[in-house]
């Protein structure tokens, strides 16, 4: 009680008329979430403004209007974002309930660019793109305001990407390794498992030691609220919310908030990166953000370009993704890894937005509907998936076991295609095809079960050293899960050695081979 009394006393003491003057404007017209404002002649781009609904009301009306027909809290704070500076007016995107903005309303400049609260207290929370909590767990304390748009770190401040970020997905960690500070695109048609890869990556961070565990930020843009709620429940159930922040802007939210959501995610991630920590941000997905930006740009009467997207759509994504970085030691050594997601139509990667984002990122994981329907999960097309950071973002152990997989699988795909036209194959070719099939089976993995890196290394070691050769290709997947159970039970020491040293040393390899021999000998 005393603290409340002190707080109120402090506020009353400060209850003096505002000194000086402020710059204000008047809403000339409003519609479709955009307001045209007279005045504000000194406003700057991306500046926040406040629509003052109390100006022309009595004090009583202003404070007791909570029973207004539109409902909600009143006086409701409605912010706007200045996005067009014109000769005799400014155009502002309304960040909130646009139906409450009316002609003749007073608009105040806030004198700051759009900022959101960031801080460690955000971890475990679900917020919107203005950083306001939407999980019903109350206010978020101890935060500082950070501008949502900022210039990315330059060359001097960056270090090479060479620390792996394990996804827990064998196919990715072995063939398309992702490094901390990298930008790896996940691209594919709807329903091919893009979100599943991102979520598995977040879940897998639980197996990381707390000191090196990245803070994960999942940005849901224009998605169904039911999907986001399900996802949050899954993260909570599996204990991943303790290191995760969810930024959600549903499909029902104004286009402006959808366009800002990834920038909010990047700003939150940068907060942790600047503290020397690692952060991972998933943008799910940038196609919807591009559509929201197109809608906003058309309403702002900016000239449309290809597919009606505005001319700066490339810059929208490049300035966002450029903020992912691995900082130099002088800057604290933190990192921000970005996993943007793009949804394609009919597998068309040559559309405008996919080609843009492919060219910006450091590689892509391409998911194919055909593979998904054939039962290959994750449905990664290893032929056109690539990580431009490559093996420098792999541990020695993973590098050692996975060096030949990609080549072998590429050869297998060619032979498999050839096999459809020819039934008369020599023994060597048949062996190679069987080996490829087995490897494909080994790389299959259900969603929601990411593997610790030492287990991935051990399984791939077994596959590349012929320990599955005794199985029919169709039985390999079942044998792989049996092998994992066996290794957990019998080879804990070897797995621990791999985990700690991050490599497969001679003595570890010897032990592993003994255990694998024991496993194969038990199978009839």
């Amino acid at each position: 009680m005393q603290s409340i009394i002190e707080r109120i006393e402090k506020e009353i003491a400060a209850l003096a008329p505002v000194a000086g003057s402020e710059e204000v404007g008047i809403v000339r017209a409003t519609g479709d979430g955009i307001a045209e404002i007279d005045g504000l002649s000194h406003a700057v781009m991306s500046e926040m403004v406040l629509f003052d609904s109390t100006f022309d009301r009595t004090l009583e009306e202003a404070l007791n209007a909570s029973e207004s027909p539109t409902g909600g809290k009143d006086p409701e704070i409605i912010y706007g974002l200045v996005l067009n500076l014109e000769e005799d007016q400014v155009r502002v995107v309304i960040l909130g309930n646009a139906s409450k903005v009316r002609e003749g309303m007073l608009v105040r400049r806030l004198g700051r660019t759009l900022s959101i609260p960031v801080g460690d207290a955000l971890v475990g929370r679900v917020v919107n793109s203005l950083g306001e909590p939407v999980d019903g767990k109350g206010l978020i304390a101890k935060t500082t305001l950070k501008p949502i748009e900022r210039e990315a770190y330059g060359v001097i401040d960056r270090a090479p990407v060479n620390v792996p970020l394990h996804t827990g997905i064998k196919a990715i960690d072995a063939m398309i390794p992702i490094g901390r500070g990298q930008r790896e695109l996940i691209i594919g048609d709807r329903g091919t498992g893009k979100t599943a890869i991102a979520i598995d990556t977040i879940l897998n961070q639980k197996s990381e030691p707390e000191a090196t565990r990245p803070v994960c930020i999942y940005v849901a843009i224009g998605q169904k609220e039911s999907k986001t709620a399900k996802l949050v429940a899954e993260l909570e159930e599996k204990g991943a919310m303790s290191y995760t922040i969810v930024v959600t802007v549903p499909a029902s939210a104004p286009a402006a908030l959808q366009f800002l959501a990834p920038f909010a995610g990047a700003t939150i991630g940068e907060h942790f990166m600047e503290q020397g920590k690692d952060a991972l941000v998933v943008y799910d997905d940038l196609s919807k953000q591009a559509v929201a930006y197109r809608q906003m740009s058309l309403l702002l009467r900016r000239p449309p370009g290809r597919e009606a997207y505005p001319g700066d759509i490339f810059y929208l994504h490049s300035r966002l993704l450029e903020r992912a970085a691995k900082l130099s030691k002088e800057k604290g050594g933190g990192s921000l890894t970005a996993l943007p997601i793009i949804e394609t139509q009919e597998g068309d990667v040559s559309a405008y937005i996919p080609t843009n984002v492919i060219s910006i990122t450091d590689g892509q994981i391409f998911l194919q509907t055909d593979l998904f329907n054939k039962g290959q999960r994750p449905a990664i097309d290893v032929g056109i998936s690539v990580s431009r950071v490559g093996s420098s973002a792999q541990t020695k152990a993973m590098k050692k076991v996975s060096s030949k997989i990609k080549l072998e699988l590429a050869q297998f795909r060619e032979l498999e295609a050839f096999m459809q036209f020819s039934s008369d194959l020599d023994e060597g070719t048949k062996k190679q095809i069987d080996s490829g099939r087995r490897m494909t089976e080994v790389l299959k993995q259900n969603k929601g079960v990411p593997l610790p890196f030492e287990m991935e290394a051990a399984v791939i070691f077994a596959a590349t050293n012929g320990y599955f050769d005794g199985f029919d290709p169709e039985d390999t997947s079942a044998a792989e899960s049996k092998l994992r159970e066996f290794l957990m039970r019998e080879a804990g020491g070897a797995l621990l050695a791999i985990k700690e040293s991050k490599e497969i040393r001679e003595e570890t390899e010897k032990t592993l081979r003994e255990k694998l021999d024991a496993f194969t000998s038990r199978i009839p």
């Binding site: 008329p17 505002v18 000086g20 003057s21 710059e23 007279d38 002649s41 004090l59 809290k73 006086p75």
Partner: protein, 123 residues
């Protein structure tokens, strides 16, 4: 074309010479008719109406809570660069005054202070 005519008429409106204004307008109408541009008139009228409405909203306005505060309010507003000839009484301000002109607002009313207090405590 409408913009150009509107701009000229805006400049003309600032002139104090009423007869010159009338003569210029007469000549403008003759010119528009002779060049077949008379159909531009509704558009010009719309733009001029908008400019006038904007001018009125941007015109200096001083509001006071009580008539007794007018002199002090006008003087304070003038110090902030808002020169008005009279102050309008607006009891909803409770106490103090507020003045507005050309996108500039000086709000020293008790109503604003109380709303700020309410918002700081509740939102």
């Amino acid at each position: 074309m409408e913009d150009e005519y509107t701009r000229i008429l805006t400049i003309l409106a600032e002139s104090d010479d009423a007869s010159a204004k009338e003569e210029t307008l007469r000549r403008l109408f003759v010119h528009l008719k002779s060049t077949g541009r008379i159909k531009l008139l509704p558009g010009i009228l719309k733009k001029l109406t908008a400019i006038e409405a904007r001018r009125l909203t941007q015109a200096p306005q001083v509001e006071v809570a009580h008539a007794g505060e007018s002199r002090m309010a006008l003087a304070e507003a003038a110090r902030e660069g808002i020169v008005a000839s009279h102050a309008r009484v607006n009891e909803s301000l409770i106490k103090g005054f507020r003045a507005r002109a050309d996108g500039k607002l000086v709000d020293r009313s008790a109503k604003r202070a109380l709303i700020d207090l309410y918002q700081n405590l509740t939102i």
